[in-house]
Amino acid sequence: MMSRDRRIDLSYRFFTSKDLFISGLLCILALFLSPNLYFRAFLFVYFYFFTWIQGKRNSLVITLFITVSIVFFNLLIPYGKVLFRVGTFPVTQGALFTGLEKAITLEALIMLSRASIRSDLQLPWIFGSLIAESFRIFEELLANKKQFDWKKPIESIDTILLKLSEKKFLIEDQKTIGGTKRERAAGSLLLILQTALIWTIFFTIKH
């Protein structure tokens, strides 16, 4: 199996953050417009796999835990046909279906979002340059995270802030690890096909 580092490298070579963002925006529209639960479940599975391809970490345990929590809380207010009882507590069809619907929608949105948003995404205007500067300082913070001492949080944060406020950060274009023109074109084509596939499924299923 391909290593995570290799997958990250390929993802940066083939996909630009802008293309991923636009493709994600188009797919999210399909998700919101379709109330079909199977379609949403398909999007969840598809984007779970797509985030894996990009080398992003997903925890199946956390995903299952969130799903179970949402279904559990929805079951607490029973409505609809009683399917079975756990002790004296009735598990009802309406509450179970609503819980599953909400859990699948939330998980699909999280996966779609994770697949479409990358930290090198550049936003426009003054806000974009400010957030880019924040990300540059953030990288500096991450590189020097050993300076942060949990036993002396106030002192260590103070020292870090003093050091960073004295340091000059050059406004430069954000570093991007792009591939060749051909690789980027192939990546764009893949994202266009992905979006077309999702919208084709959207138009062929019953809503």
């Binding site: 939330l106 400010l130 990300f135 913070l141 950060f169």
Partner: protein, 180 residues
Amino acid sequence: MDQPIKRQSTLALLGALCLFLSTIEYLIPKPLPFIRIGLANIPIMLAIDLFPFASFFLLVIIKIVGQAIITGSLFSYVFLFSFGGTVASALGMYLLRKLIGKEGISFVGIGIAGALLSNAVQILLAWLLIFGPSAQFIAPPLLLLGLITGLLLGIFCQHFSEQSRWYKQTIEEHQNDESR
């Protein structure tokens, strides 16, 4: 021209600290994706006395969008929870501090108020989007958690504002800029 540039770099610095604390918080496992301790609110609380409202609000937006980019939640309900909770708590904390004044309300007070406001908005969103009427069952533990975390963050900010050299230096710089 010097004044806005200085403010912008302090804004970017505090924005970066928000992102750093968000990353630390992201690593802590949680039963529901929108439950947060609120570590990233520390720079927001500290910024209340440093910036005018427009710059303060810009920092709030940097925190929300930056967090969403790091965690990849920009397109999900989680973003809506983060947006609703952060904006409500930031506005509430800013208004309380400006209306009552530093002498009338400490960071502990605004920390608790901010956490409760944030949780109240998130419970409302959870009721509307995820849990329906069952949200009533998560409300008491969430509000209790908010009370505890708000208290702890408030105590931290109070101590930080009293002991930090960077904070004193920045407040003095901004006051000098404003008096010019």
